[in-house]
Structure formats: structure tokens, C-alpha cells
């Protein structure tokens, strides 16, 4: 039976056990003399949980472990019969066996065919075993629990435990996947740093990876100094924040403090829609409209503006971030208690004075947090810079020149035909790690700052 059929079956089982248990608890409670310790539905949920979750876990375990076990078994088989094969060759044969057994390729080698046959036999045996054990576990537990409803036992507490475990497991999964991603990033980066000195990467002033177009091309090893790329990222993000911060913050202040309810009800959802525009659209805008426009203005002023300037990418990125900052700040400003405003207005302060001297200081910790979140977003932003910033890594702070950013480099290093143990490919992981570290530091600063400041304010 397939995974989904099995899952549906055990869900059906557990629903049955839910209804059976709750109705039997209901009957018992009705005829009982003493006060029951839980409601019928708690007994139902209790037996549902026992019918569903252990079987579900078993199903997951079989589904993950089963094929791995079979593969290992066959690797051993192959190694035993063909002693001359090395590891890579064994993997190859195994892959062939698997492909033949699921019918995607065919072979005329009898030895291989026989193995493939055995493979599919073995696998279907495992799956049969999976089906039987899962169904058995589910039904046995379901029957035992639901036929032994004891209304003097408090199943509410046990259901509560189940919920707690459920939420805990979800949290653990969330954390573990994150940790896993970071670990793989670290692992690949370490491979890169084995090929390229760490400090040369961190402090190098020259970035020229020269990606190999063909694997047989003899290319000189590029140089992987991260600083120009990082500087490009910072420059673009800085321009973005210079555009986004004042406009975003001031529009939030307008919305929260000055706009009438009608205006607010229109603008707020509009901002949220703007925040939902895919960044590739902004990228379009940057590459096709903003960059040529800036170049034309530069030309009339007699300035030499490259066609892919940091200014264009940064400005459009800023425009993208405006609704983000504005919406967040609006919420933060709104959460400042009205009583503070009343206090200030009651002393004869004007609305602007109240906003500047009372509301904004009270909202400051939250605003710092929002601002740093926006910075992290600008730094991690990819699409706009891929489309509007350049590829050449210039060590410059002139916004009219072409710069490249960390994200752009990662994209260009990893797209197209690349070899996965090539130094150029691996350097992308080094960049990824650097980017991760940078935004992590920013987020930690944001956290510390807003915590410090809010201690001061309440």
C-alpha cells in the first residue's frame, strides 16, 4: 500500500476510535454516580492520539529507513559478488539496478537484471511489512484504548500532554531544519576554505572568480577577495535605506498620527499590497526604467553614469522597502498608548510636538528593530540587484559606478553548468556564509538595542 493510502487508513481508524471512545465515555458518564474527571471529547481525543500518532511515526520511520536499508543491503551484495568494484562503481551499479527495477531504463545484462529483480522483490517485501505493522499498531492500540475507557482516569491531562508534545516536536523540527541548513552551509564553506585561505577571502581586495565555462577549460584560478563584493552590498543597501527610511518613517507617522480614519483605511491596505509585489517586478523597473533614467539625468549634468549603477539598484530597492518600513513602523507607532498622547496634548502641546517629543521616543526601540530588519532585507535582496546592478566587482563607494553584491555573485556562481566541487562554485558558499554572518550580527544588534532601549522606557 502506498504512503498516502496508509495514512488515510490510519486517520480513518483514529476517527473511528475517537467516535467510539467518546460515545462510550458519554454513556458511562451518564450512568456514573461520581463526577467524571474529563469530558467525553477528551476520552475521544485521547484514543485518537494513541491510534494515530504511534502508527504515523512508525510509517515515517519505515518510509525513511526502509529504502536506505535496502540500498545498503544491496551495496553489500554487490561488493561481495564483485570484489573489484570501488565505492563509486558500486553506487553506479546500484543506481542502475534501481532505475531498471522501477522501469525507467532497461538492460540486457542478466546479472544486473537478476539483481534488479531481487531489489524490487526486497523493496516490496519491506513495504508489505510496513503496511502490516502500521495497520496492526494502529488498530491494536485503537481497540485497546477505546474499549478500556475508564472515566475515573483523567484523560484531559493526557490529551494536554499530547498537545504539548505535538507543539514541541514542531518547534524542534523548525529549529533542526534551520540548523541543518546552516550546517550544510558551514560544511561547504569549510571545503572552500580548504582550497582558498580564509584571510585572503575575508580581507582580499580583488574579486575575479572567472567561472569555468567548460570543465576541461584551463582557467587560471581566480582570486576571491570578498571585500569589494561586500562593499558593493553595503553601498546598495545604504542607498536603499537612505531612500526608504525617511519616506517610510514619515509616511508611517502621517498614517498613524495625522491621517483621518478614512485615508488610513485606504492607504494601509495599499501599502500592504505594495509590500507583496514580487521583487522581480521591481527588478524590471530598476533595469528598464530607473537605470536609464538616472543615466540620462547624469548625462545632462555632465556626469559619467554607468548603465548599471549602484544608485539605480539601491534606489529601487529603497522603493521596494518603503512599504515594509512604513507598515511596520505604523504598527509600532500605533501601539504607543493613547494616554501618552492625551497627556501631552492636555499640556498644550501641538500634534507635531506630541509626535516628535513623546510618541516617537516611546516607539523608538521598536523602530530601531524595524529599521534593522529592513537593512537585513536590503542586504539579502537578490532579484533587483541581479537585474539592475552589475557583475563586475569594483572597490568603490561611488554610487554612479557599477558594483556587484554578494547575492548577485552567489547567483552567477551557482547558475548554469557548474561543477560542484569546483573552487568557484564552493566560493559561493563562502559568500553565503559571510552574508549569513553579517545579517546575523545585524539581527543580534537589533535585538540587543531594542531590548536595552525598551528596558529604559517601561
Amino acid at each position: 500500500m502506498s504512503f498516502s493510502t496508509l495514512l488515510l487508513l490510519i486517520i480513518a481508524f483514529s476517527l473511528c476510535s475517537f467516535f467510539f471512545s467518546s460515545s462510550s465515555a458519554f454513556k458511562k458518564i451518564k450512568s456514573a454516580t461520581s463526577r467524571p474527571s474529563a469530558l467525553p471529547k477528551h476520552y475521544g481525543q485521547y484514543s485518537l492520539a494513541w491510534t494515530l500518532f504511534p502508527a504515523f511515526l512508525l510509517l515515517i520511520v519505515f518510509t525513511i529507513i526502509g529504502p536506505i536499508y535496502v540500498d545498503n543491503f544491496f551495496k553489500q551484495q554487490i561488493a561481495l559478488t564483485e570484489a573489484s568494484y570501488d565505492k563509486a562503481k558500486i553506487e553506479l551499479v546500484l543506481a542502475m539496478i534501481k532505475n531498471i527495477s522501477n522501469g525507467s531504463i532497461s538492460s540486457d545484462e542478466p546479472k544486473i537484471l537478476k539483481l534488479a529483480d531481487e531489489y524490487s522483490n526486497y523493496l516490496s517485501k519491506i513495504y508489505l511489512f510496513r503496511t502490516l505493522s502500521v495497520l496492526l499498531l494502529s488498530s491494536i492500540l485503537g481497540i485497546i484504548i477505546s474499549s478500556n475507557i475508564n472515566i475515573l482516569k483523567n484523560s484531559r491531562v493526557k490529551v494536554e500532554t499530547f498537545y504539548r508534545i505535538l507543539f514541541f516536536v514542531s518547534a524542534v523540527i523548525a529549529i533542526f531544519t534551520t540548523v541543518g541548513i546552516i550546517a550544510s552551509l558551514l560544511y561547504e564553506s569549510l571545503r572552500f576554505f580548504a582550497l582558498y585561505p580564509f584571510f585572503d577571502f575575508l580581507f582580499g581586495l580583488h574579486w575575479a572568480p572567472n567561472i569555468a565555462i567548460r570543465s576541461d577549460q584551463v582557467a587560471a584560478q581566480g582570486s576571491f577577495g570578498m571585500l569589494p563584493v561586500l562593499l558593493g552590498t553595503i553601498l546598495v543597501a545604504l542607498i536603499a535605506m537612505i531612500v526608504a527610511l525617511p519616506i517610510g518613517l514619515f509616511s508611517a507617522i502621517y498614517l498613524a498620527e495625522f491621517a483621518s480614519k478614512r485615508v488610513r483605511d485606504i492607504i494601509k491596505p495599499t501599502l500592504e499590497v505594495l509590500a507583496g509585489i514580487p521583487t522581480v517586478v521591481y527588478g524590471y523597473f530598476a533595469a528598464l526604467t530607473a537605470a536609464p533614467f538616472i543615466r540620462k539625468i547624469g548625462m545632462t549634468l555632465g556626469l559619467d553614469v554607468s548603465s548599471e549603477s549602484a544608485l539605480a539598484a539601491g534606489a529601487v530597492m529603497g522603493i521596494m522597502i518603503i512599504p515594509f518600513i512604513s507598515s511596520l513602523s505604523d504598527d509600532i507607532i500605533n501601539s504607543v498608548p493613547q494616554s501618552l498622547r492625551d497627556g501631552s496634548l492636555g499640556l498644550g502641546a501641538t500634534k507635531a510636538e506630541t509626535t516628535i517629543k513623546v510618541v516617537l521616543p516611546a516607539a523608538f526601540p521598536g523602530l530601531v528593530g524595524a529599521f534593522l530588519l529592513a537593512v537585513s532585507r536590503a542586504i539579502g535582496e537578490t532579484m533587483i540587484v541581479v537585474m539592475a546592478a552589475g557583475l563586475s566587482a569594483n572597490l568603490t563607494i561611488n554610487p554612479l559606478e557599477t558594483v556587484t553584491t554578494v547575492t548577485v555573485q552567489i547567483v552567477s556562481l551557482l547558475t548554469g553548468d557548474t561543477e560542484f566541487d569546483d573552487i568557484k562554485t564552493l566560493s559561493a558558499f563562502g559568500l553565503g556564509l559571510a552574508l549569513f554572518a553579517f545579517t546575523l550580527i545585524l539581527n543580534v544588534i537589533a535585538l540587543v538595542v531594542s531590548r536595552r532601549l525598551s528596558e529604559q522606557y517601561d
Binding site: P337, D342, G343, G346, L347, G348, A349, K357, A362, Q456
Partner: protein, 257 residues
């Protein structure tokens, strides 16, 4: 006290207030004497706060609130176009039900109003003013060594007196107090009542309270509101001993409300 002739500070004539289409108070006409304490009492929702907030136009802050009728402060209609509500509020200060000091230092809380109105141009003058206001609010001994501490770290009663000191610091004529003691314990309440009595020598005070005893203790005049109407207004001892209206009698004896 009863036969003392006082100037009128506020004259209100047929003041009605609407929140949207809902009427909150109905044609209130009430004259308030200078340098006296006037108490507004009545069951919850009868419009006491609404009326109080008319007197310094704090109702302007509420978007759907409209005020009809005439309110004269020293003979000038405060709802006329020439009156700047910001200046009015400097003259008619307000203390709220919940203590609402700013999340700033004690000093900055008191200095806030004077700074805004350009009173106390240098640091020395400002410091004097802050000390003087705290002294008037009876708080100086408790906080003089910690003027730089954050005001929200004080106790509720101290916070409320900070708010009173803050209002005094801009040198108003009138102080409006909306249930200033409802969040406080009896000792803090007693301190604030004492403070009100001493402040009434220099300020006109209008206080909303749910405590009959408080109204009896501190006020010279009492107005009884019921469902948006002014039922009775007179000398406090009279209202509490021999009211003219049956409704007032019922309320002060606790038969409803």
C-alpha cells in the same frame, strides 16, 4: 465659605456633545467658580468625562465628536474660531484617570510643558520651575534625589502626583481632573485630596469622581449628572444632605448607579 462671593471662571450654556449620531450629554448649563473645587458626580456613562473634556477641548482629539452650545472661559467662547485649542490647553490643564507620565526622567516630565510654551529659558530657571512644581505637588521630598530617574518607575500615587506637577508647571488657571484617584490606594488618595485643597487657593479645580466621600471632602460645589443630563448643581453640603431632586437623593444614598 458659603457666603464668599466668587468670580465665575467657566460659564457653559446648553452644551450638548455627540459621538457620531449618539448624544452623550444634553444641554448642560453650568457655571464654575474661580479658585474653588467643583465635583462632577453621577453613574458610569452619564457624560462626566465628556463634559470635562469639553472644557479644554480635548474632545477635538476624538474624530467623530461634535460639541454644540457655548462655553465661556473668562467671558471668551473657547469654541470660537479665534481660540487656539493648544493655548487653551495650556490655560486649562488636565490630569487623567490613569497616571500617564511620559517614559522620560522625572525632570523631563515636569519640564516638558514649560519647554513647549517657552517658559524657563535657561537651565537654572527650568530647574527652579521643576522644583517649585514638585513642591506644590507635595512630591519634592520623595523625588528630589532622583530627578533623573525614569518617571514610569515610580509608584502609582507618585506617578499621579507627577502628572499633577506636570500640569501645574505650565501655570494654568484651571486644572481638570478625571477620576485622579481611581487607581490609587487610600493613603495616596488622601495625599492627592490634601494636595487639591491646597492647590485650590491658586487654581480652579474641576474633578470627576465616583467617590461620594471624596466629593464631600474636597469640593465646594457638586454637580450631579444622570444619563447626559445635569440633574442638580449646588453647594456640596446641600447636595449631600438635602438635595432638591429625588434622583440625586437616590444616587447619593446608593439606591442606584
Amino acid at each position: 465659605m458659603v457666603d464668599k462671593k466668587n468670580n465665575l471662571k467657566f460659564k457653559t450654556k446648553n452644551v450638548s456633545v455627540f459621538y457620531g449620531s449618539k448624544q452623550a450629554i444634553n444641554k448642560i448649563s453650568l457655571d464654575i467658580e474661580e479658585k474653588q473645587i467643583t465635583a462632577l458626580i453621577g453613574p458610569s456613562g452619564c457624560g462626566k468625562s465628556t463634559f470635562l473634556r469639553c472644557l479644554n477641548r480635548m474632545n477635538d482629539v476624538i474624530s467623530n465628536c461634535s460639541v454644540n452650545g457655548k462655553i465661556l472661559l473668562d467671558g471668551n467662547n473657547i469654541y470660537s474660531d479665534e481660540i487656539d485649542p493648544v493655548l487653551l490647553r495650556a490655560k486649562v490643564g488636565m490630569v487623567f484617570q490613569k497616571p500617564n507620565p511620559f517614559p522620560k526622567s522625572i525632570f523631563e516630565n515636569i519640564a516638558y510643558g514649560p519647554r513647549i510654551h517657552g517658559i524657563g529659558n535657561n537651565r537654572a530657571e527650568l530647574t527652579d520651575l521643576v522644583h517649585h512644581s514638585l513642591e506644590q505637588a507635595g512630591l519634592i521630598d520623595e523625588v528630589k534625589d532622583r530627578l533623573d530617574d525614569i518617571a514610569t518607575g515610580l509608584s502609582g500615587g507618585q506617578q499621579q502626583r507627577i502628572c499633577i506637577a506636570r500640569a501645574i508647571a505650565v501655570n494654568p488657571d484651571v486644572i481638570l481632573m478625571d477620576e485622579p484617584c481611581s487607581a490609587l490606594d487610600p493613603i495616596a488618595t488622601a495625599k492627592i485630596e490634601e494636595l487639591m485643597s491646597s492647590l485650590s487657593k491658586s487654581y480652579t479645580i474641576i474633578i470627576v469622581t465616583h467617590s461620594m466621600q471624596q466629593a464631600g471632602r474636597v469640593s465646594q460645589k457638586t454637580a450631579f449628572f444622570h444619563m447626559g443630563d445635569l440633574i442638580e448643581y449646588g453647594e456640596t453640603p446641600k447636595i449631600f444632605t438635602q438635595p432638591d431632586q429625588q434622583k440625586t437623593q437616590d444616587y447619593i444614598t446608593g439606591r442606584f448607579g
